[in-house]
Symmetry: C2
Subunit: 648 residues, 2 copies
């Protein structure tokens, strides 16, 4: 079997225990975020919304359409974020499930069980379960897949059900969702009484793959493939659906179906467009199907989309979707820093997609970006204490952008929480006789190869702050397999040794992974050393917002400057081509993060005088600039923040 | 009498004829804009709105409040741009009046007369005249001065009436408005049955000064002073008015009264805040009152506000008010280029204010900014052919910002049109024995001094494209007076000669004006030479959006680059500290504008490769950059535009 014929499926979350950097984050989720998510969902009214014994809450959050810039007369009530409440609840339960792997918590488990019991009560005899369309708009089931997030909610509930089953062994939620999907199997498909449709907001696709992998039910897998295959085909389902529902298809508020990536059949899509989270969720589902069906036509479409995103439309943080108006993509190379939308969910979803792109084999083309999005675009969405959140993630702030306690559209908090709590499953992957380490970090993985060999693989490391990773292997018996370790593209000069013997990295590197194929023995050690030099990064000359600017990374971390360390006027700092790190400082008030103190120049505000404009450039003076990891900004005193500095 | 005790009043528009640069613009207004304004006002329904013999049009444009970002439930119908229609009609008539000075046009005059006849028919016996509150909300007269633009509309109608009287000698409109103001004199004031109020949108203040100057009626002047003096005093009129009207004063959608500059008594205001046009109109009225009453307390408040605006809150174009959400000011030094609101009306109004700041004496501190705002921030609002308009004026465009034919809030088109058509009155000013030239341009002014001496002052010049200005004086008799000529701060190395004899500029310069005090004879000549070097301009280091950037001016003109001349990726160009002008080119397709071809460097897009980010800065290559005057952008092929270039 060649590498390209292999199928790499994610390692189950309980198979990995993390410590160090991620351990602290997971503790914050276990100790704070998990219960906060439930508290805030319930405070919003979600418990009442799903409880058939309570009166329907009705429309709590006003119906709105998505184009608030239109004059009032053209606006028609359309959707409410309340329609997505099932998904918010589900992602919270998924987070709790992962939290329970790490730390048993009977009270949290009881609260989750209570919600699951209500869903059981809510579920209709035919299997259908959706709180909005049962309790607020009961006549509207399956009438508007384009706008109403119906399958999207089901998808998140499926993911939660799988996670909860794996965490607790309790089947109730899983059974509820299997019954629901069994019902879907009678609704969707080709033929006179079937809907050949799919959801306006993808998510169900990857959820069904997960359900199929867990239950072994191929019909679930095939339904996912059906949704993928139908999307964007002609005659267009959304047109027909609207006509059946008495709506004018032309009234679509986003005008074109590229908003929800239904403008073309998925295999013909070449450009990443529309709503960023929808795009990432769709591509994630497509990648799962490509892996499961070894579908080269999907893989090659995805390859093109990957390039499109990562070479023309991605912030250096791995943030994506610059625009608030469509929560998504605009023009190539349009990457405004201060108004960046770069939704937390979108970077979380980019991690999902990147990870799934390696279902057919490890490749740092995907893994490097996965890591970049994880540590920067995504993780920034969660405060260090796990209690507050960012929805949008600008790369520059004048000091007015702050973490909030909750949001009228609370999709991001449980999304980043479930990612953090399950991060171990993104670190490792396994095929029949392959173990792959995609991400580094203090952790222990308990893996099993096709032949039954059990491998206990431990990483001892202060990564991402230090570049040395000590691996130790525990084996019940000697075994031959390939251990693949990612060598990030940025890690120039990396070294690798097995049992103290240095390997020739170049000779064994395939797609950016060092492939160590050998007979492994219990107690073997591997030492990987990744240089942690500060790296200036410049943007493509077409990125007008970054022209003449430079950003700084160290390892996988984007660094930024905050007002609390550097005073205001951060754009007065000027970074030379080879910035000198005068000191690295461990900051106890930032979870032991490594801050970098740089010798730089700074345009003098004091020497300038009062004029707003003048004929000579500002005087530059020697200065010191403290950088901290971008994902930790706004965790101390409020103030301005900057990622892209004046270069010179 | 010292200079500071003098009062400089504007020269009447008919006293100046302009040719050259401004002549072409005035021809466009006479030949196109003037009638287009009426056409579009009428197409919107404005004629029907004021005609008492037609049914009331009702609410044509939906009522809205000014915070569209609020959830629907919190939105309450509040105002409609239709409430301002009288002002749009009025500014159009004012434009027509000025156009008639330049070119008689019986058809235009007939159309204006027809509108004036309707206003005469509409006027109530008590003198009140406002189409909205007579025909759409008849019970709401004087109930909400804060939001309803009632006195604002009256102000524009007064200005139009004065202009139309001066242009045609016809008194009808003037008499209508005098009757209306006589009615106001019974409504406003102190005492039990009077309103001690003022308009949420200033304008009436300067209009009443103009009416008083024209009619000699001191009561009109005093009413203006009353509005100025009452503004922002406690107990607050807007609070009391709201309470009387059954509204909660706290429901104000802009939260604080600084939006309409009524947060403090005007003499205590130190910071330029809120809606930009309202601010400029208020300060203009204050400056008029300061001049007429020689009110030092107003003058010193205005001096502080002037500094605040021009040293912390003004674009290099003289554009002001960066934010769309309040159509106004935000934080000091917050000057985003691509999202700049910088409403045309705001720069027009800055010209008004600057001009009025010189009511107590010429000072280039005001005149330089007046010229900068006139040629750049304001004039950009009108297309070269007089047919289309800009409302907001960004300093950077990716190619999506274009001139439009009309706007749901059509305040800008007639505002820039009336300014262009009356520009002569901003060029010259006169006191008893002083003649001042604030602005240069091919023109002839017919002036009269206090002693009765008549002075015919002509400028022969290709300004603003060339810096030599030849003045000739025609006098019926020899006369002693001071001719003051502005020496712009940028004109380093300017020279001045009278009858061929060079003067020592330094010796006679007062507040940036060369004061030539002598016995003048018929046929005297003055030659002023202003160097027209290209001037790089850098912004204060606190302006984050311009950090590492440079803009370019020549004379009073800001220059920009357009895609049509330079291809896309304008931010790839890099301008050194002493840019070399390789050629000046006269562009026939831009009204004979002088374009500048610069030898520059440019970041190579071609050499960069495909990566979105990389460790080395872009390669720079020699290139040629064509600059055109900013006010002429988007007059040829659509495309991107840039004012602030990478500096280096």
């Amino acid at each position: 079997m060649t590498l390209s014929e292999k199928q790499f499926r994610p390692v189950a979350v309980p198979a990995v225990s993390v410590g160090g950097f991620w351990g602290k984050w997971q503790d914050a989720v276990c100790d704070e975020t998990a219960s906060i998510l439930l508290d805030r969902c319930i405070a919003a009214g979600m418990l009442q919304a799903i409880d058939p014994d309570q009166p329907s809450p009705g429309v709590v959050i006003p119906l709105h359409n998505m184009s608030p810039s239109k004059p009032e007369s053209e606006r028609k009530a359309r959707v409410s974020t309340q329609m997505f409440w099932d998904s918010d609840f589900a992602k919270s339960i998924e987070t709790i499930a992962y939290a329970l792997y790490r730390k048993r918590n009977p009270e949290l488990e009881r609260r989750a069980d209570e919600i699951i019991d209500l869903y059981e009560k809510l579920q209709q005899p035919d299997g259908y379960v959706n709180s909005w369309f049962q309790r607020v708009q009961p006549g509207r089931r399956w009438t508007n897949l384009r706008d109403h997030h119906e399958l999207y909610c089901a998808g998140h509930m499926i993911e939660a059900a799988v996670a909860y089953f794996q965490a607790t062994g309790k089947r109730k939620f899983l059974d509820i969702m299997c019954r629901y999907v069994d019902h879907m199997l009678t609704v969707f498909g080709h033929g006179p009484d079937r809907l050949a449709g799919y959801c306006g907001h993808p998510e169900i696709e990857m959820a069904l793959v997960r359900l199929a992998r867990t239950t072994g039910n191929q019909k679930y897998m095939d339904l996912s493939k059906f949704f993928v295959d139908e999307r964007g085909t002609q005659p267009h389902f959304f047109d027909e659906e609207a006509a059946r529902d008495g709506r004018n298809p032309k009234d679509y508020h986003f005008k074109e179906y590229d908003y929800c990536q239904a403008h073309l059949p998925v295999r013909e899509q070449k450009q990443v467009v529309g709503h960023a989270v929808r795009a990432m969720y769709l591509y994630s589902g497509m990648a799962d199907i490509a892996t499961e069906y070894q579908d080269d036509s999907l893989t090659s479409a995805l390859d093109m989309l990957w390039d499109d995103l990562t070479t023309k439309q991605m912030y250096v943080t791995g943030g994506i979707g610059p625009s608030a108006s469509n929560e998504g993509f605009t023009d190539y190379y349009d990457l405004p820093n201060d108004t960046a939308y770069a939704e937390t969910c979108a970077s979380v979803a980019l991690v999902f997609w990147a990870s799934r792109m390696m279902g057919r084999g490890p490749n740092r083309r995907f893994a490097d970006i996965m890591e970049q999005a994880l540590y920067n675009g995504a993780l920034t969405g969660l405060a260090m204490d796990g209690k507050t959140f960012f929805y949008d993630n600008p790369l520059e702030s004048t000091g007015r952008h702050h973490r909030w306690k909750w949001h009228h559209c609370p999709c991001c908090p449980p999304n980043i929480a479930r990612l953090v709590a399950s991060v171990g499953s993104y670190m490792y992957a396994a095929s029949d006789d392959d173990i792959v380490v995609h991400l580094y970090g203090e952790s222990e993985a308990r893996l099993e190869l096709a032949g039954g060999a059990k491998v206990h693989l431990a990483q001892q490391t202060a990564y991402p702050y230090e570049g040395r990773i000590n691996f130790s292997l525990g084996l019940t018996a000697s075994a031959r397999f390939t251990l693949s370790l990612r060598i990030p593209e940025w890690a120039e000069g990396a070294t690798l040794a097995v049992n103290g013997e240095r390997l020739d990295l170049k000779a064994i590197e395939v797609d950016g992974y060092a492939r160590i194929e050998r007979q492994w023995e219990d107690g073997d050690t591997v030492v990987l050393d990744l240089p942690m030099a500060l790296r200036p990064l410049y943007a493509h000359p077409k990125v007008r917002q970054d022209a003449g600017r430079v950003s700084l990374m160290r390892g996988p971390l984007v660094y930024c400057a905050e007002e609390v360390d550097n005073g205001a006027d951060l754009s007065a700092f000027r970074i030379g081509e080879a910035p000198n790190v005068a000191a690295t400082v461990v900051l106890d008030d930032l979870n032991g993060a490594v801050a970098l103190d740089l010798d730089v120049r700074r345009n003098s505000v004091e020497a300038w005088g009062n004029a707003l404009y003048r004929g000579t450039p500002p005087e530059a003076e020697a200065s010191r600039l403290r950088l901290v990891p971008y994902h930790l900004w706004d965790n101390r005193a409020a103030g301005s923040m900057l990622v892209w500095f004046q270069a010179k």
